[in-house]
């Protein structure tokens, strides 16, 4: 008999989540009030039914900016001050600069990251360096109160934002986000939150530029995934096919290779005589191959113990023959080699190479990437299947292909990228420690913006196409989030974004201020019609070429902050 560690009533988590949200909400800064009289004056009511959508609107996208802007916007969380200039100094031509930058980024250990490391140290997180066994002992076995129990989750969440904001290993951080979404786990769970450090550090970060087959096994054996998709309970007498199905559909071959419930021998074959995809029989065979892959979390059973580690419990393993994809796993095998044989077949299947390559192209280039680019990625995946840096080579093949810098505006930033790129471009000084109230506020507002970390409830990860993020909800809530940034002050009343201090003393006219900050935040000018609106806002009717009393007039200072909020809320800020 198994006794689920998860309490029977999962609504407890819902209640706890809501309590946490309520706490974050209470600690969030109050918003300034907004009168309704302005809109109530209208005699004609607004209507969402009346907006024209000319066909041309969907053909129009902006011209691509310089390669450095594309690289730093799409292969990271946006440029920090000075980074675009540093990119330009890397070489004589755009392809040369891009190659040098990408090769450096794909070797993150070579990049000095002392600022992020110092800030991490200053945040005094206690769980990030603990082993899985120690995490399990301290936060599960010791059974501390909820806020302590979930500390590894809270600290991973904050450390991820800190690294996104301050790490110079930007492509690595972006790919960590990609792989977290690829192998998505809803982490704010009773049995997952306490060990989330392990998944982030030892499973995702350890393999984000590594080998897919190695990462696949690390995920399969991770306690978080064993719990999230129930393989922990998968046994010969009680098969559970939740993980067995999703590992095929979401993690490897992809749903395009799913042939439904037809008999296995009716799946069409490729040129090498391999089945082109999988059917429900393969799902069952996959789950059976992984029976007994479970974890030590049953203190009442000496066969299991209670260390939180993965192990194979042989009495649970299904030792009958399994016919899976193009392999036959013979009867009588042990649990570990049988499961590994299934993972070998998954990782080696051509559909896996195509699926992973397409997802990476969608993330790094365009929602609908060109087939040639997908093929280039898939070829690299297959060619380097045995390499320890296989995934770095796949990324390199995609982003150094000639197509890469020709794509622009066929994706828009998602909320995480919106928030981090705003904070990066303005050199925000943010403290992510657990007792920082501004971080609580940031997390609460990020939750409303639509993409809180590790919180997508389904196993497929946040959507990565623009259609999901251009509806009214994400738009307004992300405006709301970024407009707030310029007003946040720390306990000593210093602005987290020192916008005044970063404005050079000679930049004082409305036009100069707009030009300076648009270039700083976007790495380029806006189209003239849009940049003019920024200038006019800053000028407020005064000749835009006259110097404003920025150093002495608090209203002008707050207008500068509002102007920067306006740039964060502009359409140009969203293209990528």
């Amino acid at each position: 008999m198994t006794q689920p560690l998860v309490p029977p009533d999962r609504s407890t988590y819902v209640a706890l989540r809501r309590r946490r949200e309520a706490r974050l909400r209470r600690r969030a800064l109050p918003d300034s009030s907004w009168g309704r009289e302005a809109v109530r004056r209208w005699s004609t009511p607004p209507s969402l039914a009346l907006r024209a959508f000319a066909a041309e609107a969907f053909e129009q996208i902006p011209d691509p900016p310089a390669a450095g802007v594309i690289a730093l916007t799409r292969l990271g969380f946006g440029p920090r001050p000075g980074e675009l200039a540093a990119f330009e100094a890397l070489g004589a031509t755009d392809p040369q600069r891009l190659q040098i930058w990408v090769d450096e980024q794909l070797d993150p250990a070579s990049i000095d990251d002392s600022e992020a490391e110092a800030r991490l140290a200053a945040a005094s997180f206690e769980s990030l360096d603990k082993s899985l066994v120690d995490l399990w002992q301290d936060y599960v076995v010791a059974d501390p109160p909820w806020e302590i129990r979930m500390r590894p989750y809270f600290e991973t969440e904050r450390a991820t934002l800190l690294r996104g904001l301050y790490s110079r290993r930007q492509l690595f951080e972006l790919l960590v986000d990609f792989w977290h979404n690829h192998f998505n786990v809803y982490a704010y769970e009773f049995g997952i939150g306490p060990i989330w450090v392990h998944s982030d550090r030892d499973v995702i970060r350890a393999n984000a530029l590594g080998n897919f087959r190695v990462m696949l096994e690390a995920v399969a054996q991770s306690p978080a995934m064993l719990r999230f998709l129930d393989n922990r309970d998968n046994s010969v007498d009680g098969p559970n096919e939740n993980y067995g199905r999703e590992v095929l559909e979401l993690h490897s071959l992809g749903v395009d290779a799913y042939y439904g419930s037809i008999p296995k021998d009716q799946v069409p074959l490729d040129g090498q005589g391999k089945p082109l995809g999988y059917v429900d029989e393969d799902v069952t065979a996959c789950a059976r191959s992984l029976t007994g892959w479970t974890m030590r979390d049953r203190p009442w059973d000496e066969n299991f113990g209670d260390t939180g580690e993965f192990f194979v419990y042989e009495p649970w393993h299904d030792t009958d023959e399994k016919r899976f994809l193009d392999v036959t796993i013979p009867a009588g095998g042990a649990g570990l080699p049988d499961g590994r044989a299934a993972l070998d077949a998954i990782a080696a299947h051509p559909a896996t190479a195509r699926f992973i390559a397409r997802k990476l192209c969608r993330r790094l280039v365009a929602d609908q990437p060109p087939q040639a680019l997908v093929d280039a990625g898939a070829d690299a995946f297959t060619q380097h299947a045995g390499a320890l840096d296989q995934l770095a080579r796949v990324v390199r093949a995609i982003v150094l292909a000639p197509e890469f810098p020709t794509f622009w505006g066929q994706k828009v930033k998602r909320p995480l990228e919106i928030a981090l790129s705003a904070l990066r471009s303005t050199a925000a000084d943010w403290d992510f420690s657990l007792d920082d109230e501004d971080t609580d506020s940031l997390l609460w507002r990020s939750y409303n913006a639509g993409q809180p970390l590790f919180s997508w409830p389904a196993p497929n990860g946040y959507p990565d196409i623009k259609e999901a993020w251009i509806t009214t909800g994400p738009r307004v809530m992300n405006w709301r989030l970024t407009n707030w940034f310029s007003e946040v002050q720390d306990d000593a009343d210093a602005f987290r974004l020192d916008l005044l201090g970063q404005t050079p003393p000679e930049v004082r006219s409305a036009r100069a201020l707009a030009d300076f900050w648009v270039d700083r935040i976007l790495g380029r000018a806006m189209p003239a019609a849009e940049q003019d609106e920024i200038v006019e806002f800053m000028a407020q009717g005064i000749n835009p070429d006259l110097d404003l009393p920025l150093d002495t007039d608090e209203d002008v200072q707050s207008r500068l902050r509002a102007m920067i909020g306006l740039i964060f809320m502009s359409p140009c800020f969203l293209w990528k």
């Binding site: 907004w34 000319a54 749903v255 409303n448 497929n460 307004v476 809530m477 709301r480 909020g565």
Partner: protein, 453 residues
């Protein structure tokens, strides 16, 4: 046949052709009705994860009760004693935590249709959801949701609609994919940008509107739409809302979202369709013990929410919204008859759908396929005896008076009403119809003025 209109809307195309056009940003333009008068409100609630219909409505007598009890030693709902099923008829009972649904059923406002689903088995959550929400037999093809295509094809919408479509929640669901007239929000109280410097909030808003109006890309257009949405919430939606008739919503996201929907419904903003999502139904483990446990809390939330929502809208005179209201509740698939060893259930096939309406022909509907081994699909699952599109089509035709089934459900051609709601049976229109015959295709944009501001 494949038709690519100048809106980039694909009708009846193969996946290959759709992929060729994929670099475009595909959308469905909104067919403003102009002269119509339809004031029906359709609410579609999607239960994400594969809701276990056999744990909501289960056999309480007959031979199927025996199969049910044998297959579900832990999960079975008893027939007598504490936690007993609420009898719907002599053969079927309702989960005891679904009391408010039982009351609606007794009052004739709830139709429960059994053994509904896709025409072919698909045990992938994401693929099945795509098929259901795009209204297709494959998960690729039309780059729009079925509700979006209903709005685009309805010829009887009223001349003035301020919020024709509402998606309550963080993101807009696939059923409204490419519907750009939809207001998507999760909390009206937060739906504004009043977080910047107080002194400049009005100039900032003026500038924002001008900034987003400076070009006409899809991004600019959706941004202006978001500003309009913000204006509408500010103009019409009060922070305080008191439900009518003493209705009490559950303390949950679902309860909060239903309450927002009720409030927006009562504002008479021309609401035509609305969507809500409820997650948490993928119960591979820990589903419960008999009548109690995790699933019981899910169904209690669902039932008490729907009960409160119906009561709140069930006024008299101009407050009688239930006479215009149809709520459809469905999921991507059902679950296996047999429970697994973890007090859970695996992905299955046939499932129930629910329709709650002041015009419901209440009762149990559909053809029950039986639970005997020979009656199960693949030996494990409740069979599907009716295409899910049959229910949606009946609601479209009898309530919304939109017979454009060929556009809304491409490839679906044999609709017959099941008799779950009252209404007139218009002859369905099949085939690939040019979608925009209302002058929009001629480029007459005068009817699409941007009159706001």
């Amino acid at each position: 046949m494949c038709e690519l209109t100048r809106r980039g809307f694909l009708v009846g195309c193969s996946a290959g052709v759709a992929a060729m056009a994929g670099a475009r940003f595909n959308t469905v333009a909104f067919a403003q009705g102009g002269g119509g008068e339809n004031d029906e409100i359709l609410v579609v609630i999607f239960l994400r994860g594969g809701m276990d219909g056999l744990h909501v409505v289960m056999p309480i007598d007959g031979v199927d009760r025996g199969f049910y009890e044998a297959a579900r030693p832990t999960l079975q709902i008893p027939v007598t004693g504490p936690g007993a099923a609420l009898p719907l008829d002599a053969q079927f009972g309702l989960h005891p935590s679904a009391g408010p649904l039982f009351d609606l059923f007794q009052n004739g406002n709830l139709s429960i249709v059994q053994a509904m689903g896709l025409t072919e088995v698909n045990r992938s959550h994401f693929d099945a959801m795509q098929q259901v929400e795009r209204g297709l037999q494959s998960s690729s093809g039309a780059p729009s949701g079925w509700l979006a295509r209903h709005l685009a094809s309805a010829s009887n919408l009223p001349p003035e609609m301020i919020v024709p479509s509402l998606a309550v929640g963080g993101l807009q669901p696939t059923s409204l994919l490419s519907s750009l007239e939809t207001l998507n929000l999760s909390d009206p109280g937060q739906f504004n940008i009043n977080t910047g410097p107080w002194l400049w909030r009005h100039p900032q808003r003026t500038a924002l509107r001008r900034l987003w109006g400076a070009d006409s890309t899809f991004l600019h257009t959706t941004g202006l739409q978001a500003m309009d949405a913000m204006d509408i919430i500010e103009l019409y939606v009060d922070d305080d809302y008191t439900p009518a008739n003493g209705a009490v919503y559950p303390q949950s996201d679902f309860g909060d979202h239903l309450q927002i929907l009720a409030q927006m419904t009562k504002l008479d903003l021309g609401l035509q369709v609305a969507t809500l999502d409820v997650g948490g139904w993928d119960t591979h483990a820990g589903q419960g013990q008999g009548s109690g446990g995790y699933f019981a809390s899910l169904i209690e939330d669902l039932a008490s929410g729907l009960g409160a929502f119906y009561l709140d809208l069930d006024g008299s005179g101009s407050a009688n919204f239930t006479s215009r209201l149809t709520v459809v509740v469905h999921s991507e698939f059902g679950r296996e008859l047999r429970e697994n060893s973890d007090s859970g259930t695996e992905h299955g096939y046939g499932n129930l759908m629910m329709v709650l309406s002041g015009n419901a022909i209440g009762g149990l509907h559909g053809t029950w396929p039986g639970l005997a081994p020979g009656q199960l699909v693949d030996g494990t699952d409740v069979a599907v005896t009716n295409d899910f599109r049959r229910i949606l089509s009946e609601v479209l035709i009898r309530r919304l008076a939109n017979p454009q089934l060929g556009l809304i459900f491409p490839g679906y051609g044999d609709y017959q009403p099941l008799g779950i709601v009252q209404g007139e049976d218009l002859p369905p229109i099949y085939g690939d119809q040019p979608l925009f015959e209302d002058g929009f295709e001629t480029g007459d944009t005068s009817r699409w003025s941007t009159s706001v501001g």
